[in-house]
Symmetry: C2
Subunit: 351 residues, 2 copies
DNA sequence: GCGATTTGGGAAAAGGTTTTCTCAAGAGAG
DNA sequence: CTCTCTTGAGAAAACCTTTTCCCAAATCGC
């Protein structure tokens, strides 16, 4: 009947009262002992600690939260559970928060207003300390109203309310990275094939594309806008290389900067089908750095990565500082992209 | 100074005490009024309800949970936040639970034991009512020990502890669906190209493939095992159609059942490159029904769908019934797959 | 009109923790 | 030897809600 039981994850959780009773002190003393507060003999403190350890005591977060008016919980709202954009973001948020003891409620609202309200209400009931909203498009609102909730809200990779704080990728910067890389490699006729004109990022990237070429004194070809699909990549190659549309002296492009990796894949396949070599005849760069696509193209695709996990981390940490009462400037913060170089661009002429 | 303020989401949440004070009753009466309990005049009840409404009162879940010893919260453990398998599962779980007022903690443990323990501890501290474990492989354990936690645990699309309840896809059944579909269409020489032998599902599907062909009296070709990549699909086509390995009279396959959609994509591309038509010369079926891949192949790919969202729903509902104290048989429950027919198989001979 | 029952509503405990206040005993100063 | 100060630890309030008991007033039966 000795008490050498291992720390027992009991059927019913151990309370502080039980620890105190077994250690022969009051709950107040027990609490102080375990939190390093109050004054007592080292021996008493140690005895209480030991007892708690032996019983496998874990303070009840619910009770703590009630008292502290802080739940150490945040809500993560998304309309993109299937997608590949919000996932890295979510992962980054979660990683940033778990270390601070903060848990994340995952709320998938699809594009359903009712579902959105349901989740927001649930989060408010559960007394989350703050909310992060993330989506599949940087220029679309989630179907929920997050203004005036009485708790901090951060937007990540989605359209924010006015006066809020948002983290988004620097699409123009990312596009510059790609086009400047082509220039450095000596490419002279750089085309741009992108997604639908209804996306804000399409314009941001296209403008950056024009800017860089103008700065370098290279010819600007009007960007080709279509859809985000491989099929559009195929079609665009037809348009670009069948000559009717290449105005300046019939010269064909020697580089294509694509709006996403799927378009890039279509472009690469179409080029190969018409006997053009990548990267020797034409260089190709994609956007999103969707690993599973970028590594399946032949050759593997150089692509712009939006650093979404980092974006999520940043959003999580900022929310935490807001929750902690620190002030922060409202506004949209653009985080830099990075270029992941694989083999679809070739080496510099002298390299 | 009239009280026509809209329901105010106050800086500091409204408590029941404030509602009671404003309605001129005790908190006990207020509580009963709002919960439809106790006895009081209809007029009193209505007055309290109105006051609560006007103040935007929301009962504090933390306090309720403390009292009820139930948090209406579950933990979702996964090691596959980026992947496409656990995402539909997670989405299904979340959907099933939100309607019951249960929120979901998202915990990404990667493959890190320390992170796993951290998350499990956090969940236990937050007094989750139960835990669902999900992963990226049906035959691998999460890096955490979930036995003896004192709360119900359900496994979904991951290897369970002995004696636990798990939901997995019926891979053998899914493979049968595919092969039988080929048979119905009159295909006679059906090959199977799959992933690495280290995956349990590879064997389950291969065995079902053999079984069906044997039942139908068709020739069984030894399954080709490789990796889950497009590149392997290309390579396998070489092996299958270069003749050295097709033993019976040099006949080439007229159908290929692939272990996943990426392999199928590689197979389709490779077939086209050697001048074989899909579906006219060779039919192809994939596995996973990864929409973005299946719809990008030319022609669009017929594929086996594991119904992962439904699997998640089922897991969520079962966990809830467990939490509610209802008994349930331990064991592994296999949920049926379904075949999503697109255009890579062709029509039946007489169709 | 008197006792028994119903009605409307309140007091208090419970849930588990933290924190402030209080208090007794012992130690040091003079 | 008395007075003050420190030390060690407990009592109680607070966080917010639910629920059980309880009580006073009103109603009913006769």
């Amino acid at each position: 009947m000795v008490s050498d039981v291992q720390p027992v994850s009991a059927k019913t959780p151990v309370t502080l009262r039980e620890v105190a009773a077994l250690a022969g002190v009051s709950v107040a003393t027990a609490s102080k002992a375990l939190n390093g507060q109050g004054r007592m003999t080292a021996e008493t403190r140690e005895r209480i600690r030991e007892t708690a350890q032996r019983l496998g005591f874990r303070p009840n977060s619910l009770a703590q939260s009630l008292l502290r008016r802080r739940s150490f919980t945040v809500g993560l709202l998304t309309n993109d559970t299937y997608g590949r954009f919000s996932l890295p973001v979510m992962s980054g948020i979660s990683d940033a928060l778990v270390d601070k003891g903060v848990s994340v409620f995952l709320c998938n609202v699809e594009d359903d207003q009712r579902l959105g309200q349901l989740h927001v209400d649930a989060m408010l009931d559960k007394r989350v300390d703050g909310i992060i909203a993330t989506g599949k498009r940087i220029d679309r609102h989630l179907p929920v109203d997050l203004s005036n909730l009485g708790i901090p809200v951060i937007y990540a990779f989605t359209e924010p309310d006015p006066g809020a704080i948002a983290f988004v990728s620097d699409d123009a910067g990312g596009a510059r990275l790609a086009v400047e890389h082509f220039c450095r490699l000596g490419r002279r006729r750089i085309a741009h094939v992108s997604g639908p004109a209804s996306f804000a990022v399409v314009h941001a990237r296209a403008q950056a594309y024009r800017d860089v070429l103008t700065e370098k004194g290279l010819p600007v070809m009007e960007p080709l806008l279509g859809s985000w699909s491989e099929a559009w990549g195929h079609e665009a190659v037809k348009t670009l290389f069948d000559g009717k549309l290449s105005k300046r002296g019939g010269e064909k492009p020697d580089a294509v900067f694509c709006g996403n990796d799927q378009i890039a894949r279509g472009v690469i396949d179409a080029l190969r089908e018409r006997g053009l070599g990548v990267p020797d005849d034409v260089g190709v760069i994609g956007f999103d750095n969707w690993q599973i696509v970028a590594e399946a193209t032949r050759p593997p695709l150089t692509s712009v990565d939006m650093n979404l996990a980092a974006l999520g981390r940043e959003a999580g940490l900022t929310l935490l500082s807001l929750v902690g009462g620190e002030p922060a400037e409202p506004g949209i913060r653009k985080l830099p992209c990075r270029l992941v170089v694989r083999q679809s661009c070739g080496r510099p002429p002298g390299g």
